[in-house]
């Protein structure tokens, strides 16, 4: 079992163009990209998007192993979905694989689904790879600021998201240790029927929850002892400022996305 060493939500320190881009711009670009990903239709449109994300990945200068590790968890999901799409879709039969029919619509859909899912995950991964957690919080807080007028705690919300991301690897590492420790006590994890499996998870889940609560307590205390008093009236030491390069980056992404959408309509 290899749970620790995950790259989900992690930051890869660097000095690339993408690292230096304004975090708000990166969040907006990544959201717009994902939306376009599901609106755009046709191979041409997807190819444009793929070219865009590949260019962005190349710019980010993140090791290829990190890219691979970020995509690995979805590979199984994609494989699983592909099998269902191919054989169970119904409609016009294209070919046969033994007793299993392969449908035209299924083939078509799965050819779109896999790249879409990969690009979706990649765009999210690029955002967290190239943005330090603190900047991510500030940027989210700044983007959610309009919510303040509705008396919603925008900054706290963005901080929650960042803390959650920050604790994924920590909790996974602890989960791995707990599983090993309980197996050392003879726990039978991951075997037997569904009910037995669920019951066998209790010795793992309870300590994990207890640990999470303890982390939460300790983190809250540590933040309070460093005078954290919530988002109200809080000012940033480093103000986020859009530069010409950031605007250019935004325009470039917008142009690419519109172009891809246009290709889908034509």
């Amino acid at each position: 079992m290899k749970l620790a060493g995950t790259v989900i939500g992690q930051f890869y320190p660097g000095e690339s163009l993408l690292h230096r881009a304004d975090p708000r711009m990166k969040i907006l670009a990544s959201m717009a990209f994902v939306t376009t990903l599901f609106l755009a239709d046709g191979y041409a449109a997807l190819s444009v998007l793929a070219a865009g994300i590949i260019a962005a990945t190349a710019t980010a200068r993140v090791p290829i192993t990190w890219i691979y590790r970020s995509l690995k968890p979805v590979l199984w999901l994609i494989l699983f979905t592909l099998v269902f799409q191919l054989f169970l879709r119904g409609g016009e039969e294209l070919a046969r694989l033994g007793p299993l029919p392969i449908y035209r619509q299924g083939l078509y859909d799965s050819a779109f689904l896999a790249p879409r899912l990969l690009m979706l995950v990649l765009s999210g991964a690029l955002l967290t790879f190239t943005t330090p957690p603190v900047l991510l919080t500030d940027a989210l807080g700044s983007l959610l600021a309009p919510l303040n007028r509705l008396k919603l705690p925008a900054y706290e919300l963005s901080l929650m998201v960042t803390i959650a991301l920050r604790f994924i690897p920590t909790l996974l590492m602890e989960l791995e240790r707990i599983i090993l420790a309980q197996r050392a006590r003879g726990a039978d994890i991951g075997r037997g029927g569904l009910v037995k499996k669920a019951r066998a998870l209790m010795p793992v889940l309870i300590p994990l929850f207890v640990l999470s609560f303890r982390h939460a307590d300790e983190l809250a205390l540590a933040m309070e002892s460093r005078c954290w008093r919530g988002g109200r009236g809080r000012t940033l030491r480093r103000k986020l400022r859009l530069t010409t390069a950031d605007v250019l980056f935004g325009l470039l992404v917008a142009a690419l996305l519109l172009f891809s959408l246009g290709l889908g309509i034509l």
Partner: protein, 267 residues
């Protein structure tokens, strides 16, 4: 790049032996315990328990090894102490009543009164008590060999001394083999009769505890410090300029000091 946690480690551990494993942070000590317990399968080489060669299919016999990771109290989960401690024997198929009897005996062996603690929630206990419960959970399966990763780390000095004594009793009375990983050299000195130094995933030294723990040059080479008593006795012998033998216990230090003093007491 493939990073090898352990390479070229060859160890024979005799039944009833008390082996201490020391080494700098990241040396591979905890990994070695995992491998010895059969939880981590080595990519190369093998681990044999008695005549049983472990593999993905051949698991250690129930009751052959008990492993307590660092801070084992983090893995408590039972609704009460008795259920938690009885978990291992229950998993091994022991009937409920017998498992509870084993659990009570294990609690007693770690210094907790079963009557008082059995019905309590493990989460309501102090850290020292939780550590005792967690160790009892390992003892309940009556392992022939105990693998302990920093068994007394972060505990108060009294609990520390008490637990060390109880582990020694277990070894003396039941012949339980012990493999102890620790950064606390004084604890290793009290518990181990043989010491292995691990550094960079390799065995750097292997010998009698008294020899290894007094070899200051060897220890320093591997970013380790001798136990407090050894340091003190070396300082005394340096101060008096004599070549007194290195002390291994507080009583020895005292004897060295008394011998160095002029007759009739302090000058």
């Amino acid at each position: 790049m493939v990073l090898k946690a352990l390479a070229g480690v060859s160890l024979d551990i005799e039944p009833g032996e008390r082996l201490g494993i020391i080494g700098p942070v990241g040396a591979g000590k905890s990994s070695l315990l995992g491998v010895l317990a059969g939880l981590i399968l080595p990519d190369e080489g093998s681990v044999t328990h008695g005549d049983l060669r472990l593999s993905a299919r051949v698991r250690p016999r129930s009751g052959s090894v008990g492993l307590a990771f660092q801070a084992p109290e983090k893995c408590l989960f039972g609704k009460n102490v008795l259920e938690d401690v009885a978990f291992a024997p229950r998993q091994a198929g022991v009937a409920s009543e017998e498992a509870h009897r084993l659990a009570a005996a294990a609690l007693l062996a770690t210094g907790l009164s079963p009557e008082k603690f059995a019905p309590r929630s493990p989460f309501s206990l102090s850290m020292g008590e939780q550590r005792r419960v967690a160790l009892a959970g390992v003892l309940a399966s009556q392992p022939q060999a105990l693998l302990l990763d920093e068994p007394t780390a972060h505990l108060d000095p009294l609990t520390r001394r008490d637990l060390t004594g109880r582990l020694l009793d277990l070894n003396q009375e039941q012949g339980t083999t012990m493999v102890i990983v620790s950064h606390d050299m004084d604890e290793i000195l009290r518990l181990a009769e043989r010491v292995v130094v691990i550094d960079g995933g390799r065995v750097a030294a292997d010998g009698k505890a008294a020899a290894i723990l007094t070899d200051v040059a060897l220890l320093e080479r591997h970013s380790l410090e001798p136990p407090g008593v050894v340091k003190l006795s070396l300082q005394i012998s340096q101060a008096v300029g004599g070549t007194t033998p290195v002390a291994l216990t507080e009583a020895d230090v005292l004897a060295t000091l008394m011998a160095a003093l002029p007759p009739g007491g302090a000058p």
